[in-house]
Symmetry: C2
Subunit: 205 residues, 2 copies
């Protein structure tokens, strides 16, 4: 079992348990058919009023000019490792409903649902996705002429994870450290804030 | 094939294709073991700086007082159908990083990642989830003493979907209408805003 596979307290589907955000990507390109299926998965996410507020701007290493343009929209610390990924994307969100121009409180949440679907599909295909909030939204707006009411919110590095043994020392450790999460009793409550739900407490060892 | 299964242009995993948001839930309760696995799936979502900004407040019909308290935090239009679900939850988000009290721009997005994982796990188990943005955050704050910097953002109705044939007329139609989404060329761009990515355009029929 991969060191990054979640050590779960309760069983979950493998495409959720095996997902993690690698810092190392191999040179192997992602087939266009796979790229299409990743965005197809995003497409079928739920959204408030079926608004589908997500948009993606995507670039692959096969088009070096576009890849460089997209990479430049990440903060430097993310550029350092994300430049190895064969595919980069920006997650852009429409902050208002198209039909009436009113604020969509669910918009950013629903971008998360779409990108989560994309990540799950990636895991199912042996691919990895590392999402970032560390981007330069204004730079993205200039680079792509992103209109008002839309905003670049996240970036996604997509590819096949590298073998940590051949990764740069600076990032290797991160891809060899087991994943950690709060246990359920710390975030699933019933009845009052901070009170662990008996539904989970009864079953935790 | 269920009428709600996505008609995809590119193949995706069945737990993503079969997910939809029912308006009708059957009376069958959800086993506690399943409830635990749903939140376990949420637990392993990605989040910015591994902040895990999500919290959930959960109630089941087995505890009528808690169920009523949670139901009252939904807008009336959602109460109308969600009261049939055997399990309700609020999705609550920490808007600031615990370590330094700074705003977490990814928080609401990452609640989406967690709830998306929960929904995928539900589909894998034959369960359905209908997420709502239509809730009463201030009422939830009062009801559960949700502290400052946290905010109830979504609700989730969880259960087994009802047979539309025996659903109230008011909701039946919605659960019998095929799902629709924008095609990929309308939201996956390359090079400039609004320009369909050749990566998807080349492969769309």
């Amino acid at each position: 079992m991969n060191i990054k596979t979640a050590t779960t307290d309760f069983p979950i589907n493998r495409i959720l348990a095996e997902r993690f955000s690698p810092y190392g990507f191999g040179v192997r390109p992602v087939a266009e058919a796979d790229i299409c299926s990743l965005f197809e998965a995003a497409r079928w996410a739920a959204s408030s009023y079926n608004e589908q507020p997500w948009r993606y701007i995507v670039a692959t290493k096969a088009d070096p000019r576009e890849f460089a343009r997209l990479l430049a929209c990440l903060v430097e610390a993310n550029q350092a490792w994300a430049e190895a990924a064969p595919v980069l994307a920006l997650g852009v969100v429409s902050l208002k409903f198209a039909k009436n121009n009113e604020a969509n409180r669910a918009a950013v949440h629903d971008l998360g649902l779409a990108s989560g679907n994309l990540s799950a599909e990636a895991t199912a295909r042996g691919l990895s996705v590392h999402q970032m909030i560390g981007i330069l939204p204004d730079k993205a707006r200039d680079a792509y002429q992103i209109p008002e009411h839309f905003e670049a919110w996240t970036a996604l590095a997509i590819g096949y994870k590298a073998d940590p043994k051949i990764m740069p020392e600076a990032f290797k450790e991160r891809d060899l450290t087991p994943r950690q999460r709060k246990p359920l009793n710390e975030f699933v409550f019933t009845g009052e804030w901070g009170k662990s739900s008996p539904l989970v407490l009864n079953r935790l060892a």
